[in-house]
């Protein structure tokens, strides 16, 4: 089959590799009908996530058709159309039982590696470095899906892939970020740093949850325009963001701040240098701003991915303002059904975010287009069959 392989920093290649096979009794094999490049894939592309190996198959946003099931699979059958969460979860541990799917105890075969860094290991993830399992990802024509009874959502409607694909990650991720803001309808003001795909879904989710006002911060005009189209007030990040936010909130500051940027924020030369020199693993520019901007007693919600160590984080600001911080990889399985309902009810059409549709074979060049935000690129969907 064809698969997008990480071959080094800023080096992606579409290669011919072996088709996946069932390796464990709970596995299924999915023939992929649609797959996407996620903003978080860019952290791997840019070489900021450790433990990538040459030849690793990328991708964690994919859906398709079940073509084979292992002997222990009960709920899925060949021919089922499925949306596959990016979090790999066993379904049997205490965290899965609590719906904390991204904290699964058992799905990371390299748990020892993650334990060395973090104390305890989070769940395995598709195509997201060996630290989180080294699982082959879904930017390919087929994928092996472990614990097939505890992840994939079977879709029985006839909605297009474009409307369903983002249930795999960015829609639940944006939604969980908004849910974490403890939004009181008609009262809560939410500010969102980063209008990439996750930011876009966070903005729309906050509005769906009844936020009084959503303020979006970014530097890319087409991303701000997309946020505005959803009903957000926008701030360009070359403006005095804190001052603007104060002004838009009657001097109180936003009740909730969402950092949908993560470890590779632009805007700070200091962080660029330190990250390049490996003195700092992440560039937390948006996070620092959000920490200062958020209202006293407010919530800071972080869907943006952080990998390691942060420098000059104004911890005193969030401590002294009594801010609640909520974060983590998304518990995707928790959101699949409720968000599918929202799509089916027509409350949201996730395909709004797609700017590029190309054959899988053109993935390498699309990584470059996406990372450079060229050609108005916000979200790339790859067609494995084309």
């Amino acid at each position: 089959m064809k698969a997008v392989c990480w071959m080094g920093k800023r080096e992606m290649e579409v290669q011919e590799v072996d088709d996946p096979t069932i390796l464990n009794p709970g596995d299924a094999i999915v023939r992929i009908t649609s797959t996407a490049i996620c903003g978080s894939d860019l952290h791997l592309y840019n070489g900021y996530m450790p433990t990538m190996e040459k030849g690793d198959i990328m991708g964690h946003e994919f859906m398709g058709e079940v073509v084979e099931t292992g002997p222990n699979v009960k709920k899925l059958k060949v021919g089922d159309r499925v949306v596959v969460p990016f979090t790999i979860s066993c379904g049997g541990c205490a965290h899965c039982a609590r719906q904390q799917w991204s904290l699964c105890d058992n799905s990371n075969p390299n748990a020892w590696m993650a334990e060395k860094l973090m104390g305890y290991s989070p769940a395995g993830l598709f195509g997201y470095s060996h630290l989180t399992g080294g699982y082959a990802g879904g930017q390919a024509q087929y994928a092996r899906v472990p614990y097939a009874d505890h992840g994939p959502l079977v879709v029985e409607n006839d909605l297009s892939d474009d409307k369903l694909l983002f249930l795999t990650d960015i829609f639940p991720t944006g939604y969980m970020a908004a849910e974490n803001c403890d939004i009181k309808p008609g009262r809560t003001i939410v500010a969102v740093w980063g209008c990439g795909p996750v930011g876009q879904f966070a903005i729309r989710s906050a509005i769906l949850l009844g936020a009084e006002k959503v303020i979006a911060i970014d530097s890319v005009p087409e991303r701000l325009a997309m946020a505005e189209a959803a009903g957000a007030i926008t701030i360009e990040d070359n403006e005095d963001v804190l001052e603007k936010l104060r002004d838009l909130t009657g001097g109180r500051g936003p009740d909730a701040a969402i950092d949908a940027v993560g470890m590779e924020a632009h805007g700070s030369a200091y962080d660029h240098v330190k990250q390049t020199l490996k003195l700092e693993t992440d560039r937390p520019y948006a996070l620092r701003q959000a920490m200062r901007a958020v209202r006293k007693g407010g919530v800071l919600s972080i869907p943006g991915v952080y990998g390691g160590f942060l420098d000059k984080v104004p911890f005193g600001a969030v401590f002294n303002k009594g801010v609640t911080i909520k974060m983590g990889q998304t518990h995707v399985q928790r959101y699949l059904k409720p968000l599918l309902d929202l799509i089916e009810e027509g409350k949201i059409d996730p395909s709004f975010v797609i700017t590029h549709r190309v054959p899988l074979t053109r993935a390498a060049e699309m990584y470059e287009t996406f990372v450079e935000k060229r050609d108005g690129c916000i979200k790339v969907v790859l067609d494995p069959a084309a």
Binding site: C5, G55, C93, A94, A97, A111, A136, R144
Partner: protein, 203 residues
């Protein structure tokens, strides 16, 4: 001290809550202690562990365990260069659903002793499983030798064994990517892994 193998439900030689007595002679061993919590009743976990042959499923390093009697077993751990390390082990304390203790018998290549305890965890967490293992360490060099033989530190081996035990008991399988598809430099290695795995399943 001579110990007679105990049978199920029959406690002999030592009181159950005194792990210091279950030890290698002279107490000069390397000691490893590791705990984990498994979301299953103690009885299920105890039963799995009590059939010692089951342990080959959760010990990552290649090992064969042959049952000699209800309480005795023969262990062969492979080492690089077609070498192996062998010993006979006897269960010396057995408290159903609570504790199993074992010790290698005279003539072992590696004198070793250990216990596994199963205790209810708070709330609905399941069962706390605590493994304590001691290896003989003549001249204090034994741990290093064993690590060299098997390529892994004893602490890591115990941690990995417990992790795999937990995964198998909670989800019915042990997570793996061995033999999965990959491109570039890994493609050949992965293909070999896959062939090995298929051979293992076939045999």
């Amino acid at each position: 001290m001579e110990t007679t193998p105990g049978t199920s439900g029959q406690t002999i030689a030592q009181p159950a809550r005194e792990p210091s007595r279950i030890t290698v002679p002279g107490n000069r061993g390397v000691k490893v202690v590791r705990s984990c919590t498994i979301r299953r009743p103690a009885a299920d976990l105890y039963q799995f562990w009590r059939s010692l042959e089951n342990l080959v499923q959760v010990i990552k390093h290649p090992v064969t365990i042959t049952r000699i009697s209800d309480t005795e077993s023969h262990w062969v751990v492979s080492a690089p260069g077609d070498k192996s390390v062998e010993w006979d082990a006897a269960i010396i304390n057995d408290e159903p659903n609570e504790l199993i203790a074992w010790r290698s018998k005279e003539g072992a290549d590696i004198a070793n002793a250990g216990t596994v305890r199963f205790e209810p965890a708070p709330g609905d967490e399941g069962t706390e499983v605590r493994v304590q293992l001691e290896y003989d360490a003549p001249g204090g060099k034994f741990a290093a030798l064993l690590a060299k033989l098997t390529g892994e530190e004893p602490e890591q081996q115990v941690a990995e064994t417990l992790r795999r035990f937990k995964a198998l008991m909670e989800s019915g399988e042990i997570p793996t990517t061995e033999g999965q598809s990959a491109g570039g430099a890994q493609a050949k290695k992965r293909r070999e892994e896959r062939l090995q795995r298929q051979r293992r399943i076939a045999s």
